[in-house]
Symmetry: C2
Subunit: 412 residues, 2 copies
């Protein structure tokens, strides 16, 4: 009798985006003449830049010829791309990362999800709250979370690290020992950051406790301030305790092209129960070769083009475009009397909903009265309650109009 | 202290292709003037067909414009592609498969590897031998194999199903109860097939024992004979017990473009330990949404083009080309006195090495004396010993020359 993985039954269905979609659909049906502006979902809107488009055309032509055809490539990614990553994302910041510490993948979501394969299921996991749900759900599926407690709305074996106004959105070090720590900075959903000094404490904690930091840097391209690290490896000692995830989804608009990469320095080690050290790089390499077959050659050429002078300029224009939107949102909301976080080093603005209102109540009113759609903070976790996320990924015109509406809006 | 997944330590390193590469490199260095012909690795050589090239150019142009840009797509694949799959691969054969029973992925290797996520680790697994190593290794990594026994060269919890000349390459039904059964037909590496009647027994076994058949049909496009099923769902009752894997790698030359799909009919159920039925389609959908973000839009448009009239014709030409090579290999070897299997419904020819020789001894002599590279059967498992694989994926000229050399070759 074929048994199922019963850990899946502990997953809590998230109705966040489907509930939003239903509410918006209902409102549209009842108010067909109202123009709704959506600043809710974290998907980009700017087209793929010309440098990448050209690179893909060239690669497509190549694989259509006998001489240029490419079959199976290296599971870890082509050398040309791993070289470009090492040079542009690390050497340029004075960080020494080797080519075989880079694993090119079809996106950071897959990497963040699959990484749990190389860890024992009895590791204790700490996760910030509110949070990108993939970190929790993949630990539930693999049996690391324990049971879900309906009363507390938490999993029994997950250590939640609140990030709220109270701690200035800087998670406190866990009081107990944890083995795996998920940090995403610039943060989704709050848009807030950790400085180098903040991260230093985490590196120290991890070294002391032999924990691993799983550092999701998917939004690093949006950083504008100096003391905010683009890579966790900017902090001394991080190469011994941190695995870093990078993505081209938001940076280069590749949400539909699919590419990211993981960095696992060779120094990062885990332990057997007997206390023997094992390199996570070696384990991940084995997993990659066994369960993955590399990213499309065409995609890898497109990513390579993001590192050319032309590509960099074009991508920077898109990022500027989004960050201007973020500024419009942030300043507009503050002028309208809202308290906001994020939006300076991140495309997300996290606003405090007016006193006495829940995130969902604010969502409903904003939709009905200003016809603007955002995301209720409570959808990202317990400590997201009382907050609301707006994204800078819309068009400039829509962003300006949405903020004008909010400014002129008197909540009923 | 961060613990590793110790199941990884049970993995046996396969040196098959790296040993081959080393031996070939050494020979080349010592004999720089000898022209080596490689019929070893299962990678294709024909370029991507024009219909797919055109579709990719069009898609690349699209994503470079504001109106045509595509961000996140459905995790399970675009509707246009799932419709085309249902219509062309199933309806056309009288099989009713629903769109939401299809999950488009970045290749059958990933799917065959990831599928273990939704099964309990205490399931008993049966695997044919010789075999594509991914089935075993992914079960080792997830803890389903038990310990490796160095004396018997087997894992304690894996049931091996020999496929050799003795049983005409048709695995016998397991004597004990097994819960998960891997079948790959047309088979890699032996090139042999199961008929509809053969498969019927397996469906009956699975129904009786509530087992799941994991059916890898990556090579179905090469089938030329009538009674060989292209899909396991051609057999009555299969929709209750079988999950099917399909690939565009060999069919359309997409080894470097990366696309495949899994079919999980809604009727396929597993059980909780308490005996409750759970749909594997629902579990896989949840896994897909949590750990995957869909395949590149550009790739999906290329796959769609394989189903157009033009695309079908062009792909059929490539398949014919490879199958002519297979014929050249098979007939040539038989004329030269070898016993061969496969090569009729598959691009692989599985030959018996001369009496008293091991697969590796034959490999060495063939390389040194005829300067032809193939793959020793023992590299695919214990029961591959005494056999040797040649692939039809080379150029016609090279294939003809290789076979001429073997014909004229007197083994020293």
């Amino acid at each position: 009798m074929s048994l199922i993985n019963e850990n899946f039954l502990e997953l809590q269905d998230s109705y966040l985006f489907s509930t939003i979609a239903k509410k918006v659909a209902k409102f549209t049906e009842e108010n067909p003449n109202k123009k709704i502006i959506k600043l809710g979902i974290g998907d980009v809107t700017r087209p793929i830049v010309p440098a990448c488009v050209q690179a893909m055309h060239k690669a497509v032509d190549e694989v259509g010829t006998e001489e240029g055809f490419k079959g199976y490539g290296p599971e870890q990614g082509y050398e040309f791309l791993r070289k470009a990553i090492v040079k542009n994302d690390y050497q340029s910041r004075g960080i020494k990362i080797l080519e075989d510490e880079i694993f090119v993948s079809d996106g950071a979501k897959c990497d963040c999800g699959n990484i749990v394969d190389i860890f024992a299921i009895d590791n204790k996991v700490a996760i910030t709250d509110p949070v990108y749900p993939v970190y929790i759900d993949t630990n539930v599926m693999s049996g690391r979370s324990g049971k879900y407690n309906k009363n507390t709305e938490t999993y029994e074996n997950i250590i939640y690290l609140p990030v709220t106004e109270k701690n200035k959105f800087k998670p406190e070090l866990p009081k107990e020992k944890v083995d795996m720590i998920y940090l995403c900075y610039p943060n989704n959903p709050t848009g807030t950051v950790l400085t180098k000094e903040d991260l230093k404490q985490w590196i120290e904690y991890a070294k002391k406790n032999k924990s691993i930091i799983l550092y999701d840097a998917a939004y690093e391209a949006f950083i504008t301030e100096k003391n905010v690290p683009h890579s966790i490896y900017e902090i001394e000692g991080a190469k011994e305790v941190a695995i870093e995830f990078k993505s081209y989804s938001k940076k280069a608009g590749f949400t539909g092209i699919r590419c990211g990469y993981v960095v696992i320095p060779k120094e990062v080690t885990g332990y057997t129960k007997d206390g023997n050290e094992v390199s996570f790089n070696r384990l991940w390499n084995r997993r990659t070769c066994t369960k993955f077959n590399g990213v499309s050659y065409i995609t890898q050429r497109a990513v390579e083009a993001t590192y050319t002078e032309e590509g960099k300029k074009q991508i920077m224009q898109n990022i500027k475009y989004y960050m201007e939107n973020a500024k419009i949102i942030k300043e507009g909301l503050e002028n309208a009397g809202y308290t906001t976080y994020g939006g300076i080093n991140s495309p997300y603005v996290w606003l405090k909903v007016p006193e006495g209102m829940t995130s969902w109540e604010f969502f409903d009113k904003l939709l009905e009265e200003a016809n603007v759609v955002g995301t209720p903070g409570s959808g990202f976790g317990l400590h997201g309650e009382g907050y609301f996320r707006l994204t800078a990924f819309g068009t400039k015109e829509n962003t300006i109009e949405a903020i004008e509406r909010i400014k002129n809006w008197k909540i009923n």
